[in-house]
């Protein structure tokens, strides 16, 4: 009788005290996510959380270093032809998939042909625009099959050699071959299947440092170390992604030990977190930027003076300092300061409300009875649409509204939920918007699709049109010479700033909080960059 009581008490004590379970050597890492992933297939998944979770599961041909230059991963080495149109990659030998089958060049070819296949729904396709035969393979009517082409864009030379052929020299080609948008998927598991709906998307198999274990919807995604990883078994035992929608609760979990890594805590808490024993804060630049935008082809935004006035009206440095606690860089255009395409000589408009008012007066606006500017009997009022779920964007919109009010512009906020917002955005149904836009670490993909006048049906939903910008972007896309690209993008940034199509606000930094004792995190200055380093993270307990 006593025995059972003592035993029961011990069991109770033990479970109440609850040390975290870990099998064998090494330790687990619990990562907190604010939402669930959609699909774990790198070819079709395109939302941020899916990227995050896929990263440790799949390898790409190349990966990034701290300066965002490419370095080998699955591709050991590569050669470029003199004319820049052929890339030959030598793949690492002895790499196996999580199910034990060998990784070969056929998998690489299969992966990228799938990306090009019009039947597969993936926006990643646009990144491979430079490949030979791209227009024919991706045509809406009667697309060709790779076998039907005279020049094959992707060629399996032998088991460990794969060759890509381009139709124009492209400086961004290597840059798009990295995670999270270019993970390699296994041909032997996906051939003949519909990648959009395959069971594989829920039970992925990759060559990455971690193997998929389970996905309990809305609860967690678990993966464990890949013993046979070509780069050596990771030090961590398991990575467990826990889904905790409430940001305040997530922070509490971090504090009480339920979570070891979280991203983007409320910025006002970061100072306190830095001083909390047992927690560490990591920051890194990011490529995504937040801006106040509007329809370029709708009055009064067609007037350059108005656009410049709005730029002068917002105190960005103050916003960054007070609201973002300094965890952001002021934006002067499409490229963040950490990008090689960034031109430091391009300066933002100074905060100068007097100048703003002067410019607006010049443009024909006069203050009305309630302080709102009026022109031709019409008050300067417009709606700003934004995503209701993004707290930082919401806060930014509220602040922007206030600054605009101070110079006599009446901006009404209209938060919309994401599906509605995106639909209206891409249908160009808006007057003003505040958006935080993702970006690629290479300048071309987004610069082109956002600012080129041919993209009005795509990401250029603001309907921007500038012949000089078009020219610069086209040239930059078609050259592989770094120095040339840099100069072209520099000019592009200058023209854009002069033209003031948006009020570029800031590039928010990535802020991660992790438990003291984990070493090896490297926060790359690109979206989700920290997840590339999970394979090198280890627990030292210090």
């Amino acid at each position: 009788m006593i025995h059972s009581i003592v035993l029961a008490a011990l069991v109770v004590l033990f479970t109440l005290a609850g040390p975290r379970p870990g099998l064998g050597a090494g330790r687990d890492l619990v990562v907190g996510l604010g939402g669930d992933a959609t699909s774990l297939n790198p070819v079709v998944a395109t939302d941020g959380i899916s990227y995050t979770v896929e990263w440790p599961l799949f390898d790409s041909l190349l990966e990034l270093d701290q300066s965002l230059n490419v370095k080998p991963l699955l591709a050991e080495s590569w050669e470029t032809s003199r004319d820049g149109l052929t890339y030959t990659f030598k793949l690492k030998k002895g790499v196996t998939w999580h199910d034990g089958k060998p990784f070969t060049a056929r998998d690489v070819a299969f992966t990228f042909y799938s990306v090009l296949d019009p039947k597969v729904t993936t926006p990643h396709r646009a990144y491979f625009d430079a490949l030979a035969g791209f227009p024919e393979l991706t045509a809406k009517e009667n697309p060709k099959k790779p076998e039907e082409l005279a020049v094959r864009p992707i060629e399996v030379v032998d088991d460990h050699t794969v060759r890509f052929r381009l139709r124009y020299p492209s400086g961004s080609f290597l840059a798009v071959l990295v995670n999270p948008r270019a993970g390699i998927v296994p041909e032997h598991l996906l051939k003949g299947q519909d990648l959009n709906t395959a069971e594989f998307n829920r039970k992925p198999v990759g060559t990455g440092p971690f193997k998929f274990v389970e996905w309990r919807r809305a609860e967690r995604i678990v993966m464990e170390a890949n013993d046979k990883y070509h780069g050596g078994r990771p030090a961590l035992n398991r990575v467990i992604f826990r889904i905790i929608p409430d940001a305040v609760v997530l922070l509490q979990e971090l504090r009480s030990g339920g979570v070891d890594l979280m991203e983007n805590p409320p910025l006002t808490e970061v100072a306190r977190l830095k001083q909390t024993a047992g927690l560490k804060v990591l920051t890194a630049d990011n490529t995504s930027y937040t801006y106040l935008g509007w329809r370029q082809d709708v009055a009064p935004f067609t007037d350059l003076r108005v656009r410049r006035a709005l730029n002068h009206a917002v105190d960005v440095p103050s916003m960054i300092k007070e609201v973002l606690q300094g965890y952001a860089a002021p934006a002067t255009g499409q490229f963040p300061p950490s990008s090689w395409a960034y031109d430091a000589s391009v300066k933002p408009y100074a905060y100068d409300p007097a100048k703003a008012r002067a410019l607006l007066a010049e443009a024909g606006f006069k203050p009305g009875a309630d302080g709102i500017l009026v022109k031709d009997g019409r008050p300067f009022t417009f709606t700003i649409r934004h995503d209701v779920a993004n707290q930082t964007v919401k806060d930014t919109a509220v602040i922007v509204q206030e600054y605009l009010k101070r110079v006599g512009v009446d901006a009404r906020l209209e938060p919309l939920d994401w599906p509605t917002f995106v639909k209206k955005l891409f249908a160009s149904e808006f007057e003003g918007i505040v958006v935080n836009w993702t970006n690629h670490h290479d300048p071309d993909p987004f610069a082109y699709t956002i600012w080129h006048s041919s993209q009005w049906k795509g990401r250029n939903f603001a309907h921007y049109k500038n012949a000089r910008v078009d020219e610069l972007l086209e040239q930059a896309r078609r050259t592989a010479v770094m120095a040339e690209r840099k100069k072209l993008y520099g000019d592009f940034s200058k023209v854009l700033m002069e033209d003031a199509p948006y009020v570029f606000l800031y590039f928010p930094q990535q802020v991660y909080v992790t438990r003291q004792g984990y070493e090896g995190f490297v926060a790359l200055p690109t979206f989700g960059g920290i997840y590339q380093s999970l394979k090198a993270v280890r627990w030292t307990g210090k």
Binding site: T121, P123, A218, D417
Partner: protein, 319 residues
């Protein structure tokens, strides 16, 4: 008994009709609204062609009537389709989440009843005294806070001040079948939800017991000299149960549909969160499926509740 049988048949017939009606209305409302699942599926790298492709694949380009009929005929067979977001069968998604939800809301209701009914009885019997006030104050406390507020307060209290209750989740990884782990994780959410349910139960118990105590037959029983205790327990309480059953019936949609806010705060993988997520993501099959299941359960329960009335109060009849 044929009375009862025909009543039941009629009710079941109505129930089926109602399920169709409810699902049809929901279907129409959702389709009328702007935006669709494609925006969520594609995320930040939206493109119009990808959107069109997705709509075609999900069958959203067919005429509305066709879409509804397809869904309805499949649902009648028990096939609720697949989630737009993840492709999982809706039936599986619901089945997986039903357990945690029922656990949470069942425990909360139990807690509420166990605490609030005695409190209500006490308050009624000792009406006007300090017990009455205290009892009311305690039960009203829980219902005067938004649940997400109460939840976070409890979490902060118990994780910072007294750190042995986990802030969120169902159980630790690897410990799902460990009862103690489950219980530890369930305590805070149950408390949050239970405190909120308490007030309604307590108030109705008190007021209906007061009502019953005033009835003529109670006064008669008292006048006859029956001990107070017996009077209360035997005669009054039975009648007092009616509103309590009503309240439980009223809580049913929450019970089965999940306590959305509490589930979100505590990252509880229940039906409420599933439903909310589906609304935000325009995951039509999940929305329709959850709605159907919850409606079916609630309609059944209402039927049972109404039958319970006949048992408890013989004066209520079903001509």
């Amino acid at each position: 008994m044929t009375d009862l049988r025909s009543y039941l048949l009629r009710r079941l017939g109505f129930a089926a009709l109602m399920l169709v009606g409810v699902s049809l209305i929901l279907f129409v409302i959702m389709r009328l609204a702007p935006g669709g699942p494609e925006a969520v599926l594609i995320g930040g790298e939206f493109s119009a062609e990808a959107a069109a492709q997705i709509r075609a694949r999900l069958g959203l380009d067919r005429p509305l009537a066709v879409q509804y009929v397809t869904w309805a005929t499949a649902a009648a067979r028990g096939d609720l389709g697949r989630s737009f977001k993840t492709g999982d069968p809706v039936v599986t998604l619901i089945a997986d989440r039903l357990g945690p939800t029922l656990q949470l809301t069942g425990a909360a209701l139990l807690f509420a009843i166990l605490v609030a009914v005695p409190l209500g009885v006490l308050a009624a019997v000792r009406r006007g005294t300090a017990w009455d006030t205290l009892g009311s104050a305690f039960s009203l406390f829980g219902v005067s806070f938004p649940s997400f507020w109460l939840g976070i307060m409890l979490i902060l209290l118990f994780s910072e001040a007294v750190p042995w209750l986990p802030p969120s989740g169902l159980a630790e990884y690897g410990r799902e079948s460990d009862l103690l782990s489950r219980v530890r994780h369930a305590i805070l959410p149950t408390l949050t939800l239970g405190l909120i349910q308490m007030a309604a139960v307590m108030r109705f118990t008190r007021s209906s017991l007061l009502e019953a105590l005033r009835q003529d037959y109670v006064r008669t029983a008292r006048a006859k000299g029956l001990a107070d205790g017996r009077v209360v327990w035997r005669h009054a309480l039975r009648n007092a149960l009616i509103p309590v059953v009503t309240v439980i019936g009223l809580s049913l949609p929450t019970l089965v549909g999940g306590a959305v806010l509490t589930e979100t705060v505590f990252a509880w993988p229940g039906i409420g969160r599933l439903a909310v997520g589906a609304v935000f993501e325009r995951d039509y099959p999940v929305i329709m499926g959850v709605n159907l299941v919850v409606a079916a359960v609630v309609i059944t329960a209402n039927l049972l509740t109404d039958l319970a009335y006949t048992v408890i109060d013989p004066r209520i009849s079903y001509q």
